[in-house]
Structures are given as structure tokens and as C-alpha cells.
Symmetry: C2
Subunit: 154 residues, 2 copies
Amino acid sequence: MKRLLSATFVTLLGAAVCVPAMAQFAKPEDAIKYRQSAFSVMGTHFGRLGAMANGKVPFDAKAAADNAAIVEAMSKLPHAAFIDGSDKGGNTKALPLIWTEKTKFIASGDKLMAEATKLAAVTKAPGLTLDQLKAAFGNTAGTCKACHDAYKEK
Amino acid sequence: MKRLLSATFVTLLGAAVCVPAMAQFAKPEDAIKYRQSAFSVMGTHFGRLGAMANGKVPFDAKAAADNAAIVEAMSKLPHAAFIDGSDKGGNTKALPLIWTEKTKFIASGDKLMAEATKLAAVTKAPGLTLDQLKAAFGNTAGTCKACHDAYKEK
């Protein structure tokens, strides 16, 4: 009886854990659209930081902090959308390797989030300098590149 | 001389105000993609709140707060992307009325932001009830609908 209850509990726990994940996206296409949208918004604001870091637009600490805050917020979203089955459907460039080495891929996403969080903290601190922005931008850009090189179709 | 300086100042001020706006998006298509991406992410999380408000998924205060925080963050983004010239290009459903009654359109976006901010505040307050979620969700949904009815192609 105890074993039966345990088994039931495990099944229920499994259901409780799985249901929200399954319920997040009705179809793989929805997950693909969601993560592409999040990356697109992130890329827009990250691009503006890059233009500033590279001297293409004037340095503006307030704009840097505003853009970095959005990059940080967006960096937390896409990972939940790399659900099983979403390696196909839509026009995804996500490589199958994402699902075959999921732990490494997740670690890669964690690095992005960590660097984006640092970038947001650095840019909102009083007295931000262009050099500080460049360094934090470069570190974050490195995590984008590493992940794209490994997991995104060219 | 004073008049000349003033004129120069006004021109410079105009440039200072316009340059960032112009620099935000290189092409109308970029602005369209950006706002559609932001709306898409917002819609995903707003849809999850709706499913909860309508009893399709179990009430979960933490999930409600998490989703509402993202809705609030995203609600602040699209308005900057309704730039002049972006009534065409891409596959936008934005109606020309947006640009002919810009003040009303902006007020409409302000309402969304205000309700999304309230929704986020309500859902993160301790002891959130389903009725509170329903009310705040309904108020926010009303601002979506009003704006879509007026400014989005059917």
C-alpha cells in the first residue's frame, strides 16, 4: 500500500511538474515564435548598446541603463521555449544539438543571463564610464556568440 | 545675434530630440518586427494570465505575478516603434489612423501601460485572490481590445 501510494505520489508529482511545462505552449510553432520574438527584442536593445560601446552613437549612461535593463529582462525568457519537439516547425535555426546536449545548452543560457544581469547592474550604477560599458557589453556579447556558434544554424 | 543663437539652439535641440528617435530603427520593417515581437511576448504571458483568470489552468499566485511582471515590462516597449513611415512594410496590421490621430493612439497605449502596471502590482501583493486577478486581468484586457478595435486591421 505504501509503495502504491508512493507510486501514485510520484505520478502526481510528475503530472504537476509536467502540466505547466506542457501548458506553456500549445504547439512547437508557438514556442519557436515566442523565443524568436524574445531574442528579437533583446537583439534590438543589445544592438543599441553595441552602437554606443563601439562609438557609433554618443555615450549616454541613461540610455545604456535603459537598454541593458530590457536586455536583462529578455535574457530570462527564451530558455523556457526550447521545449521538446520545437527543433522543427516554424523557421527555426535552432540546431538539434540543443536537445542532445541539453545540460550544456542550459549552462550556455545561464551564462547569458549572468552576464546580462551584470551588464544591467554595471550600467545603472552611478558614474558609468564608456570603458565599463564596453567591458560589460563585450562579456555579454561573448555569451551570445558562443551560443550562436554552437547551437544556431549559420 | 541673440535670435540667431536661439534659432541655432532650437535646431540643435530638434536634432538632439530627433536623432535618438531616428537612430532607434534603421528601417520601418525593423520597427514593425520589433513591436510585433514585443506584442507577441506580451500576448503569450497575458494569455497565460487569461487561462488562469478563466479557470482553464489552476490558480497560482506566483505564476500570476511572474507573468504579470513580464506583461508590464513588455507593455512599455511597442509604443516607441510606431515611428513615422512604419504604417507600411513588413506585414503590419497597424491602421493608418494611428498616425492621423497620434495623440489619441498614444493615450491608448498609456492606458495599457497603466493597467499592466496595476496588474503587476496586484498580482505580486501577498494574498492574491482569483477574484483580484480576474478584475485586474479584465481591466488590462479591456485596454488591449479598445486599441485593437480602433487601430488594428481585422
